[in-house]
Assembly symmetry: C2
DNA sequence: TAATAAAATTAGGTTAACCTAACTATTTAA
DNA sequence: TTAAATAGTTAGGTTAACCTAATTTTATTA
C-alpha cells in the first residue's frame, strides 16, 4: 500500500535529485522540503529502504530505486496532468493550479487520469512548461535554458519556469509574460545583470537577474549566439 | 483540522441517521458502515463529542450537532457534485462514479467545487437522483416513493435509486432503466410481489420486489391511486 | 424469568508519523 | 589545526487510528 505520505516522500526525493543533479539528497534536504524534522525523515527512509523504493547512506544520500522512481514519476505525471486540466478545462490560473494538484495527485484512479489526459489532448507539457512523463515514466525532451544566459539581441520563446511560487508567477502574469510568449533581449546591464526586454504586448520590461534565472527559454534563431 | 477520516465519520453518522430515521445510530452501525471495529468508533466518537460535532449516549446513539451536520452536509454536497461531474463531463457510468467520488469528496478547495458545479450547470440532483445540498446545507425537495408501492397500471418516472451498489446499478443499466425513464406497471404478482414492467425501449421486464424497493419513482398522472 | 445472545464498553496493545533532546560525526572557518 | 557550526543519528516520547480480548450491559427467547 502506498499512502499519500509515502508518495510525497518518493516525490520529494525525485524532485530534490532533479533540482540539483550534482548534490546528494540528504535527510535534511527532504526534511526542509516536506516541512518535517530530520529524525522523521530518517525513520521513513528506513521503511522505504526496506520496501525497496530507495537506497540510503550518508555519502550518496537518498536515491530512488527503479521501483521507487517509477512510483515518483507516476505521481509527477498525475500532478502535471491535473495542473494542465485545472488550467485548460477549469480556467484556473497558472499560479493556482499547483496547490490543488498537490491534493489531486493522490487520487487513485488510473481511469480518471486517462480521461482527463484525453480531454486536455494528451499534451507533453504542463502550464509551467514542465514535461509530463508518459505511463512508462519517460519524459518528453525539450531543450531549454535560463533567460539569464541570453546575450543582447537574442530572440527567444518562453518554454517554462523553474520557480513555481505564486508570487513569482503572478509577477510574470503582471508583466504579461506567459508560456510560449516571444521575448527580445534589448539590453543587459553589466553591473547587476538585469535585463531590458520587449514582448509583443509590452516594451522595455526591466527584469532582475534573479527573475531571469527562473524563466526557461529557447532561442528562436537557429544560429543564435546564446550559450 | 478536519481530516478525511473525521469527515468520513461525520458523513457516516449523517447517512445512517437518514437511512432509517426511526433508529438511533449505534457504534456498531458506524463500525459496520466504515468497516472498522466498535472500540475504534467509540474512541473516535469521544473525540467528536469533545469537538462539539456529535452527541452520544447509549440510548439516543450518535447524533450530529448543528456544526457536525453542516460539515457532513458539505461532504455530501462535494460527493454528489463530483459524482455528477464525473458522470456528465467525464463520461463515467453511474455505477462507477461513487467510488471515485469517495476520494474526491475530501479534496479541500471551495473554488474547485464551485467551478465544477458551474460546469455541470448547478443541478439539484446527482446521477443517482440524490439531492445536492446547497452551500447552506439545504436539500432540494423531491417527492419520491419506492416503485414497489405501485399499483397495477401505474405510470411513473424514475427519480432515483436507494441502493448504489455496482451490481444493482449495472442490473438496471442492462434492463435499460435509467434516471428520468418512464415505467408502466403492467402486472403485480400477488405471490411474491414481483412486477411486470414496460418502458419505451423494453417490454415485459420482470422485476423482483427486492429490486423494485430500491427504485424511487413519482407517478406521472396527478390523480394516480398509488400509495 | 432464567439462560442466551448481542451490543457496548474497558483494558491493553500495535503501527505510522510526527516530535524534542542529546549525542556523534563531519564540515567550515578562524 | 583546533574551535565552532552544521548535519546525521539515536533515544525516547506523543497522538491518531486501528486492533483483540475481556467484561459489563442490555436485549431476546425459550
Ligand atoms: Mn506543480
Ligand atoms: Mn507544473
Ligand atoms: Mn455516492
Ligand atoms: Mn449519488
Amino acid at each position: 500500500m502506498k499512502t499519500y505520505r509515502e508518495e510525497n516522500y518518493l516525490k520529494a526525493v525525485y524532485q530534490l535529485a532533479n533540482h540539483d543533479k550534482s548534490k546528494t539528497v540528504s535527510p535534511t534536504d527532504i526534511a526542509n522540503w516536506l516541512e518535517v524534522k530530520p529524525p522523521t525523515v530518517l525513520e521513513k527512509l528506513a521503511i522505504l529502504v526496506k520496501k525497496g523504493y530507495v537506497t540510503y547512506n550518508k555519502f550518496d544520500g537518498a536515491r530512488l530505486t527503479t521501483t521507487g522512481k517509477d512510483i515518483a514519476l507516476n505521481i509527477v505525471r498525475r500532478h502535471r496532468i491535473w495542473e494542465t486540466y485545472l488550467y485548460k478545462e477549469l480556467k484556473f490560473s497558472w499560479s493556482e493550479v499547483h496547490e490543488i494538484a498537490e491534493q489531486l495527485e493522490h487520487i487513485n484512479s488510473d481511469k480518471l487520469i486517462d480521461r482527463i489526459y484525453d480531454v486536455i489532448g494528451n499534451p507533453d507539457f504542463d502550464p509551467h512548461g514542465d514535461p509530463i512523463p508518459n505511463k512508462q515514466g519517460k519524459l518528453p525532451k525539450s531543450d531549454r535554458r535560463p533567460l539569464s544566459q541570453s546575450i543582447k539581441g537574442c530572440k527567444c520563446v518562453v518554454l517554462g519556469v523553474s520557480e513555481h511560487s505564486e508570487v513569482f508567477l503572478n509577477y510574470l502574469t503582471e508583466l504579461k509574460i506567459g508560456l510560449n510568449d516571444k521575448l527580445i533581449v534589448e539590453q543587459i546591464n553589466a553591473y547587476d545583470d538585469s535585463l531590458k526586454l520587449s514582448t509583443k504586448t509590452k516594451e522595455h520590461i526591466l527584469m532582475s537577474a534573479k527573475a531571469a534565472q527562473q524563466i526557461l527559454v529557447q532561442c528562436i534563431k537557429p544560429n543564435c549566439a546564446c550559450k
